[in-house]
């Protein structure tokens, strides 16, 4: 009997909030692990603070703790649940670090919990650079020459033997945090200083530069019988110097001979054995010198990683799932290959296609951030594409990014060659497009290779793409089937072909269809067609035979959300996955279309069929066509994947595709400002006063008419991009002068900003008759901070029954007026007793998973059913929705859930190496979120803070500096902090107000004052020196205005560097004080979602 009989329960630690370097790939791996272990009959206990994940859905574990991932909390969970084992290798660096902390504190030993997957020693051997280096040398392989340093003096001494440039790598950080290349002493001081601070062990490694070498990764698995397989080889198109998370990567490796590859494989296997990863996966990175072949082992991760998610999707070999099985005692040969069903997992996948992953960046969200790519990961998401050739896969991947300017283009004359050659010298976002342009402008492969280090083979493939483009453009004949096929086999989209022939995308499509040039769909089968695949995981190619199986049940296509980006992440994947599960249960054949390799939706297990395809109109239409040819398509769901599929809705409908749920026309009513105005007017609902302006004069006139402050934003962007709150004429003029693309077609929208309003978020379900209020969330920050960045509480903490009643009524009128079928999200602002409608989105929102978990109701599932025609009454009868009541009528003692946003400020520096500003505003910049859930607000809020940023302090020093408008509101909470025993530091103005109100505040020097005559430090210095435990700093002033705002910037960036909690709104301060009180009282407990749900159900039933 395979598997270990002695294990009855396993604790799995997730990876917490989505941050740069640790994204939803760990939701994918954790979800797989939970499913597998549960299916094996084990009791699965899960802890993850991230409510947006699919793994934290109560159905995937027996006990799901949405609690902070730290030693103290996990110890409480262990004490309560007494698991037999802890599986720490599937939750990224967060889980591994937490497991190490638990081990070191003796917790695991105390409760008799066995670490499975990787033991403590193996983790140390893999992660500690010095030990790892010894291991590599012991097995006869090479590492880069290096020196370990603990102080700046050691750092400087080390360069004498290593020379410049030199690489700095801090120990025990994830995603390359704190690492970089230093070209001289100044850079070294800056990078190594940050690295020493970032490393939990104050340790950095300095090593010889291997900049420009070829970079590879191998993904391995090992079982308890010491069987090892290499699941996938990955080659980075960008050579060494760019973090692999920011590189364009290709699987399998393209430019290795068998000798070189086998040598790499031998070394990798020797490393995994020597490190002693008992069971499970690991990832090993290599650098190869391009002209000598010298191979160096860079590092290993003794756990499932971002690359293993990519490798799983690239090969069809589910690394996390198999790692979980190996951890509980199976061997590889005992586990069947899911794809073929007849062969075992003890083999190495072989690919007859090429996989390309491209990163997606968000530099536009962080003005001033340095866009150069380094060993420090900066991308926020990625897209993967599969093709039968590298050009096909590459061009599909680039268009999957849905970002202007990333796809290759030939329409305009390229910039001067010298300029392009200069630009491609340094890796940056969008470099590959410039490489393509340089090759187009006449640069030779050797020339570009010399500058970029990109392998000549890849460059030649891009030349081949340019040649096909030239052929399409230059030939006088009409487009022939052969020409189209050639272009399609090089990955050209209809839009690109149209560009080359001055035709519209639609015309190209019609011509192509008339000529019968359509893609076929091939199977990712792990074995290059050696065996028949039983699991339909498909990708398009302009190849010979299609492999789409014929369906028998009606099909529903679910369009996913594409690459993660700020504003569109795992939350949407959650809704898509839930829809797939529930519709499959309801008898439909579910078909998922998505291109994000990190997600659960692109697991071949999630839906009946998976198409790994870009989410463009062309690609989606072809999938629909392929599905219609093999069965009946009952509907296409565009409402759950965020803005990406929503943006396709109308054009899909125009092409005859059956869109289910809210119609594209109704979507338009909500999205178009004018049309939405009419909806509001008909529903007699108020909105803030507004106007549109195309010049600074017009804007000022409007602002003076509707009154300051005003919220200004360009009309042509989504997601809060370019939004700002302006308080006076000067600020408005400054904004208008920076908003360059203002024109009559693209006016600036000027809205009255409701100062001191409470912002409310509502998720609701509407079936045409009945409204189900999913949840009402009250923002903790005032209106004006993007809802994605604002903390919020559910149920609302200060709204009364009357308010909820008004919200319900308004939401119902909106749902009717728009014509919603399914989910809708509405944002309201409650100001001076008036409930203003800020916006309505007729789709699943970012908060759906949060609401679902806080109220124990699977909203996305219900929405999917409503879209397919079920009524809310039916779903209540079925038990999918509560029999009575909804999220607006939660019982009085329902738990309070607090959502907090997690921001990526620590990832970005400007070109001078300083941090970027951390102030929150109307533009969303958070990458992830956490949830704190408990009986009262203070405790829930404290948990959310602990999960997002580290625990709130209960003693020490608080620094307070607030804008004048906030001074009145801060007195009471600051006084409370003083009463709790905190020492209060303040800038002179703030201190004055506090003292007059009986709070003894010590005055500290502003940053702009500089150090005092006797060397008295500024507040920034004090923060950097670790003398401050909590910062309260509310900003004011407009961009470009000197004074306090810049002071605040310095303070807040110092807070980020030191990891000091920093509150930037007075509302946040009030919440923090409640949280601190809760922590001070001690005795914060843990409770699983299942327990919360049982209580809620009990309460609901009792009423």
């Amino acid at each position: 009997m395979p598997g270990r009989e002695d294990l009855k329960s396993v604790l799995i630690i997730g990876s917490g909030p989505i941050v740069i370097g640790q994204a939803c790939e760990f939701d994918y791996s954790g979800t797989q692990a939970c499913r597998v272990l549960k299916a094996e009959g084990l009791r699965v206990i899960l802890v993850n603070s991230n409510p947006a994940t699919i793994m934290t859905d109560p159905e995937f574990a027996d006990a799901t703790y949405v609690e902070p991932i730290n030693r103290e909390t996990v110890e409480k969970i262990i004490a309560k649940e007494r698991p037999d084992a802890l599986l720490p290798t599937l939750g990224g660096q967060t889980a591994l670090n937490c497991a190490v902390a638990l081990h070191e504190a003796g917790v695991l030993e105390r409760y008799g919990v066995e670490l499975i997957g990787a033991n403590f020693d193996a983790i140390q051997r893999g992660e500690n650079r010095e030990i790892f280096k010894g291991i590599v040398e012991e097995i006869g392989a090479e590492v880069a020459r290096s020196v370990i340093c603990h102080t700046m003096d050691e750092v400087l001494a080390a360069t004498e033997q290593l020379g410049y440039p030199v690489v700095v790598r801090p120990s025990f950080t994830m995603g390359g945090l704190g690492s970089g290349f230093a070209h001289d002493e100044a850079e070294l001081r800056q990078i190594a200083g940050a690295g020493l601070a970032a490393s939990p062990t104050s340790e950095v490694l300095l090593e010889e530069s291997i900049l420009g070498w070829k970079e590879y990764e191998l993904e391995l698995m090992r079982d308890r019988n010491d069987n090892v397989v290499v699941v996938c080889s990955i080659e980075n198109l960008d050579p060494m110097g760019v973090h692999t998370g920011d590189s364009i990567t290709v699987a399998p490796a393209m430019t290795l001979t068998d000798r070189e590859y086998q040598h790499m494989r031998d070394v990798a296997i020797a490393v995994i054995r020597k490190v002693g990863v008992d069971t499970g996966g690991c990832n090993i990175q290599f650098a190869v010198h391009p002209s000598t072949g010298r191979m160096i082992v860079i590092e290993m991760n003794p756990r499932v990683s971002r690359s293993s998610a990519l490798a799983s999707k690239a090969t069809g070999f589910p690394i996390a799932k198999i790692a979980a099985k190996l951890a509980i005692g199976y061997t590889l040969d005992e586990i069947p290959n899911d794809i073929t069903k007849v062969t075992p997992a003890s083999f190495e996948p072989t690919l007859d296609y090429v996989v390309v992953k491209v990163p997606r960046f968000a530099f536009e969200k962080f003005p001033g951030a340095d866009p150069r790519l380094t060993t420090h990961m900066k991308s926020v998401g990625e897209a993967m594409a599969i093709g039968r050739s590298f050009p096909e896969a590459l061009q599909k991947a680039l268009r999957s990014l849905e970002q202007k300017g990333t796809s290759f283009s030939w329409d305009t004359a390229p910039p001067p060659l010298e300029e392009l050659l200069e630009r491609i010298r340094v890796p940056h976002d969008g470099r590959l497009h410039e490489v393509q342009q340089a090759l187009l402008a006449g640069a030779g492969i050797e020339q570009v290779y010399a500058i970029t280090g990109i392998d000549p083979w890849f460059l030649d493939q891009i030349v081949a793409i340019n040649e096909v483009a030239a052929d399409i453009r230059l030939s006088d004949d009409a487009l022939t089937a052969d020409k189209l096929l050639a272009a399609k086999r090089h990955g050209f989209s209809d839009a690109q072909i149209g560009q080359l022939r001055s035709l519209s995308e639609e015309v190209v499509r019609e011509v192509r269809h008339a000529l019968g040039v359509r893609p076929v769909y091939l199977t990712v089968d792990t074995c290059a067609a050696e065996f028949a695949a039983q699991t339909p995981y498909l990708y398009s190619s302009y190849d010979e035979e299609t492999e789409v199986p014929v369906g028998s049940r009606p099909k529903v296509l679910i369009l996913g959300s594409g690459p993660n980006r700020i504003g569109q992440g795992v939350e949407f994947d959650y809704s898509c996955v839930h829809a797939s599960f529930t519709l499959s249960e309801a008898g439909y054949e579910t078909v998922m279309v998505n291109c994000n390799p990190e997600t659960v939706s692109t697991d071949y297990d999630t839906s009946d069929r998976l198409y790994f395809e870009p989410l463009t109109l062309e690609d989606v239409l072809e999938v629909v066509y392929a599905e219609q040819r093999t069965g009946v398509v009952a509907g296409v769901i565009v409402q759950l994947g965020g803005q990406t599929p929503l943006g396709l809705a109308q054009r899909l409908k125009d092409a005859g595709v059956p869109i289910v749920g809210t119609s594209p026309e109704s979507i338009h009513l909500a999205e178009d400002r004018g049309a939405f105005g009419h909806v509001l007017a008909r529903a007699e609902l108020p909105a803030p006063k507004h106007g549109t302006a195309t010049s600074a004069e017009e804007a000022v006139a409007i602002a003076n008419e509707i009154g300051y402050p005003v919220l200004v934003r360009p009309s042509y962007v989504l997601g809060g991009r370019g939004m700002e709150i302006v308080y006076d004429d000067a600020g408005l003029v400054a904004y208008m002068s920076t908003a360059t693309e203002v024109s009559h077609d693209r006016p600036v929208l000027v809205d009255r900003f409701l100062d001191e309003a409470i912002e409310i978020d509502v998720d609701a379900l509407f079936d045409g008759t009945e409204l189900y209020l999913g949840g009402v969330m009250e923002h903790i920050e005032e209106a004006g901070i993007h809802s994605g960045d604002s903390a919020c509480a559910l149920p609302p903490i200060t709204l009364g029954r009357e308010d909820i009643k008004r919200i319900r009524e308004s939401t119902l009128r909106l749902a009717r007026g728009i014509g919603v079928r399914g989910l809708m999200n509405v944002q309201y602002a409650l100001s001076a007793g008036v409930l203003y409608v800020l916006e309505a989105n007729p789709r699943a929102s970012r908060t759906v998973p949060f609401v679902s978990k806080a109220t124990a109701v699977p909203l996305a599932k219900a929405a999917a059913r409503v879209m397919m025609g079920a009524t809310i009454a039916q779903l209540r009868a079925e038990g999918l929705l509560p029999a009575a009541g909804d999220g607006g009528t939660l019982p009085l003692d329902a738990p309070i859930a607090v959502k907090e946003a997690v921001l990526p400020f620590n990832r970005f520096r400007n070109a001078q190496g300083q941090g970027v500003d951390t102030v929150l505003g109307p533009e969303m910049r958070s990458t992830g979120e956490v949830m704190g859930i408990d009986e009262v607000f203070g405790t829930a809020y404290a948990k959310s803070q602990a999960a997002a940023y580290g625990s709130l302090p209960i003693k020490g020093r608080v620094f307070v500096s607030v804008a004048n408008r906030d001074k009145r509101h801060m007195i009471f909470p600051v006084k409370r902090l003083a009463d709790l025993g905190f020492e209060i530091l303040a800038t002179s103005g703030t201190a004055e107000v506090l003292r007059r109100n009986g709070v003894h505040a010590k005055v500290v020097r502003k940053h702009s004052d500089g150090p005092g005559p006797d060397g008295e430090p500024t507040v920034v210095r004090r923060v950097l020196d670790g003398e401050v435990d909590l910062i309260v700093n509310t900003p004011f002033g407009g961009p470009g205005q000197p004074g306090p705002r810049l002071d605040g910037y310095e303070i807040r960036t110092a807070a980020v560097v030191r990891g000091v909690p920093c509150v930037t709104t007075v509302q946040g301060l009030a919440a923090a004080v409640q949280g601190i009180e809760a922590v001070s009282r001690g005795d914060i407990g843990v409770r699983s979602l299942q327990e919360h749900a049982r209580r809620l159900r009990g309460e609901r039933a009792a009423r």
């Binding site: 061997t331 039968r388 083979w457 050696e530």
Partner: protein
């Protein structure tokens, strides 16, 4: 670009462009799923008279060098790839693959439908085929395919094996002397033995037991090679003579089939064979799985449920393929002889099974210590 066609004996036609030499060629078409090692594959004598189709889409990326070939020439009868490289990019590359094929007069085709071809062969089995860049009419080519020789019943080892014996010296001190019967041996095989201190005398495929034993070797090796083992009566007779002598004996691939026949077992043609570098083979004694390189269209039939009697005493199936359960290794229990159906020398392919050469050396060592009358 010159057009080319590939026509299978069942009439299926694939179209593409000429790759390598222009002309016309015939052979048994098989697919290879290795993602690396095209140079080793092309020069593997076991592919004699076969048209090899690569499932990996990009072939030729690392060019061709003089260090990696497994024999003195390109052995395949024809080559089918999807996307040949336009530039060779590797620090060891000396010329392009296209040039290499032209130099060796090997006719190839570059065509989009390599996956469709693989699926076709998977379902219908390996079959005869022809590639032509001079014949535009598939029906005309088909008629020539239908009169070309098939693989079943082909005795090909002698065609590729050395005509004269030669010796590969041991690296370092000579510990053992091995007589290796060349049925289509790959360069890496004697190299693997040489690096373990074996001086390897490679003999022609026609070597008899007397000729082999006359060298008084410490051990005898039977190599891989092309063709139908059912026709290899000469090597089978030689193997029986060697086994009767009690000399340590090791066979791989074709050598495994010869061993099987020598033990009285039958061989049969697999539908589409194993050709790749990712096959899971389980050592039935340890339970360990080796990821191994394969190139065989035939296999041995042997009882899997336990030891069985042979003219040379009891034998057992030592290794099985976990994908299809086919026999991958045999071992005599009372005599020092064993064989595997796969390629421990692994060129191309993973090095998981190189310890089999150590086992062979251990057998020779043990045999020498228990039989002091013999040895160097």
């Amino acid at each position: 670009m010159t057009q080319a066609i590939l026509v299978l004996e069942d009439g299926r036609v694939f179209r593409g462009e000429s790759f390598g030499a222009e002309g016309e060629t015939f052979g048994e078409v098989v697919f290879n799923t290795g993602m690396t090692g095209y140079q080793e594959t092309l020069t593997d004598p076991s592919y004699h008279r076969q048209i090899v189709a690569m499932t990996a889409p990009h072939i030729g990326n690392t060019g061709v060098n003089d260090l990696d070939p497994e024999s003195g020439r390109v052995q395949v009868a024809g080559y089918v790839v999807r996307q040949p490289a336009r530039v060779a990019s590797n620090w060891r590359a000396q010329r392009s693959l296209d040039q290499e094929l032209k130099n060796h007069g090997v006719v190839g085709i570059a065509m989009p439908g390599t996956r469709a071809l693989t699926r076709h062969l998977r379902d219908r089995g390996a079959m005869r085929a022809g590639i032509s860049s001079v014949e535009a009419d598939p029906r005309a080519l088909l008629s020539r395919v239908l009169v070309s020789p098939g693989m079943a019943g082909s005795d090909l080892a002698a065609e590729v094996a050395t005509k004269e014996p030669y010796t590969v010296p041991a690296r370092g001190e000579t510990r053992f002397r091995v007589a290796a019967v060349d049925l289509g041996i790959k360069a890496m095989t004697p190299y693997r033995m040489a690096e373990r201190g074996c001086e390897v005398t490679v003999l022609p495929a026609t070597a008899t037991a007397e000729q082999i034993l006359a060298l008084n070797p410490d051990g005898v090796f039977f190599s891989n090679g092309p063709g139908d083992p059912a026709t290899a009566d000469g090597p089978v007779a030689a193997m029986r003579g060697v086994l009767a002598s009690g000399k340590p004996t090791f066979g791989i691939c074709f050598g495994n089939q010869i061993f099987g026949r020598a033990l009285g077992l039958g061989t049969y043609k697999l539908r589409f064979g194993h050709r790749g570098v990712n096959q899971p083979v389980q050592d039935r004694r340890t339970g360990r799985v080796e990821i191994s390189a394969h190139n065989h269209g035939f296999a041995v039939e042997a009882p899997l449920d336990g030891p069985f009697e042979t003219p040379f005493g009891r034998a057992e199936v030592s290794h099985v393929n976990l994908n299809d359960g086919c026999v991958e290794g045999l071992r005599l229990l009372d005599r020092p002889a064993f064989s595997v159906q796969y390629h421990p020398e692994a060129a191309a392919g993973p090095h998981d099974s190189t310890m089999l050469f150590d086992q062979f050396c251990a057998l020779m060592q043990h045999h020498r210590s228990t039989d002091p009358g013999e040895g160097a």
